[in-house]
């Protein structure tokens, strides 16, 4: 257990004494917020980055959400030929949705009756940002990165996901240039659903592999 682990929480910066020097506790946060603002202003003044470029990048980031990935997965569930293309060359397959991932090598891995995939980046925070948006804070936390490789079943239990010992749990540690997308299993009872309706039940966490898509309730 660690008492100094912050888990990337949203700290309330206004509670801090902004005039204090950096301290190895919560007060340190306001210092880095100030430092970030100072560096941003200097970079803009020197023309290293333009304010407009930063604004447009934020807009671009905000526009990419897990719904993109959900659409891709829903198509894979309903179109076997597309699924085959997705598993073979995910970059080309998502381009069919107009999703361009020029700097990412996307790899789609499929959950089956006997195999459950879960994704992590133990060294930093590699994540298919151009498809799913920015990763959730827990994905970047040391707690997740540390334990999901060595005790994935226990971590999955913490997310409410219990898997039989007969199912192979396969952890993908994104240590290099590949970014992983889990294609979760399609739950029973969804046979008649449209792609849009299917996409609406596919969550971010199921595409990271810490959750399974819940069967529909009657």
């Amino acid at each position: 257990m660690s008492t100094h682990e912050h888990h990337d929480h949203d700290h309330d910066h206004h509670d801090h004494d902004h005039n204090s020097p950096p301290q190895p506790d919560d007060k340190v946060h306001s210092y880095y917020q100030i430092l970030g603002t100072a560096v941003k202003e200097l970079l803009i003044e020197k023309g290293v980055v333009a304010a407009d470029e930063v604004r447009r990048m934020i807009e671009r980031r905000d526009s990419i959400t897990p719904a993109n990935g959900a659409k891709v997965v829903a198509r894979a569930w309903t179109d076997p030929a597309f699924k085959a293309r997705l598993l073979k060359d995910a970059n080309a397959a998502v381009q069919e949705f107009g999703i361009d991932m020029p700097t990412t090598h996307l790899v789609a891995v499929e959950n089956t009756e006997n195999l459950h995939n879960v994704v992590v980046c133990t060294l930093c925070s590699c994540y298919p940002r151009d498809l799913l948006g920015l990763p959730p804070s827990w994905y970047k936390s040391k707690a997740y990165r540390a334990r999901v490789v060595s005790e994935p079943r226990a971590v999955l239990e913490e997310f409410g996901t219990s898997l039989s010992d007969n199912v192979e749990v396969r952890v993908h540690d994104s240590t290099a240039d590949m970014r992983y997308l889990v294609v979760p299993r399609r739950p029973a009872g969804t046979e008649g659903m449209s792609q849009d309706a299917l996409a609406s039940i596919i969550t971010r966490d199921t595409m990271i592999g810490v959750a399974v898509v819940e069967p529909l309730q009657n």
């Binding site: 133990t122 994935p152 079943r153 749990v169 396969r170 952890v171 290099a176």
Partner: protein, 94 residues
């Protein structure tokens, strides 16, 4: 550059601890696994991280059985962990 490994080859990760920017996590060093995919050649992050000219290195997807990675692993014997590892971190295993 000739490929050194092929799908199905058993490999061992070098058990070395150099100073520098290393994308082979400590927990997998010295462990034995099997090549499951050859991704082709990619720039070597160990030199790219220092803005130095880099040569391409073959990158492999390597699969490890969890019970061989963690002595006290809790889970099925089929559970695996896959890592993407550059060729110079791998050596042939028997």
């Amino acid at each position: 550059m000739p490929q050194r490994f092929h799908e199905g080859d058993f490999v061992r990760v070098r058990d070395d601890y150099p100073i520098g920017h290393i994308r082979t996590p400590v927990y997998i060093r010295g462990k034995q696994g099997v090549i499951v995919k050859d991704f082709g050649a990619f720039g070597n992050p160990e030199t790219l991280a220092y803005c130095l000219p880099t040569e391409k290195r073959e990158l492999y997807k390597v699969r490890f059985w969890q019970q061989m990675v963690w002595s006290s692993y809790k889970g099925g014997p089929r559970d695996t962990v896959d890592l993407d590892i550059y060729e110079h971190w791998l050596e042939k295993a028997e």
